[in-house]
Symmetry: C2
Subunit: 101 residues, 2 copies
Amino acid sequence: MLIQLVRIEVKPGHRDTFLEAFTINCEGTRKEPGNLRFDLLCDPEDENKFSVYEIFRDEAALDEHRKTPHYRTCVEMIDPITVGGRRKDFFLPVLVETARD
Amino acid sequence: MLIQLVRIEVKPGHRDTFLEAFTINCEGTRKEPGNLRFDLLCDPEDENKFSVYEIFRDEAALDEHRKTPHYRTCVEMIDPITVGGRRKDFFLPVLVETARD
């Protein structure tokens, strides 16, 4: 199991485009057999700071994810409207549920 | 929906006690009607640094959680073996699944 919290900052004025892109990504990703969790969250103090709590079965599942049209469309849409790169915190599972056991 | 990532550092040599306490807490919490998610995670770089990804229906559900025996037992067990207080990052839900819709 691969668990990461991805942090993304959106440039002011582009929030709607970001949400449009991530809705496409969320809907597609949750149908992937290798994805177990995909939550898009926002910082209560800053509406342009987002985090994505992601769980994939393994590294191979994440690699497959990155080849999907919904991921690629999302990245193409958000790259020009984000501040700096996407920062990632990785975690090991200790006691983890999955939405799709 | 109330979402938080709680960070806890355990004193060296007490990891087993921590895991025992958190297994009690996890099993009990996931049965609470107000809890939607409760994942215990560990830092890949430090086996004594933990994070808990928690989703509760609302503030009232979290208040109920804090009154439960499994929560109180856990806190009693881990308070003496943790370094500093429990740090919390709060999030707003944007596109969030729940394990128990």
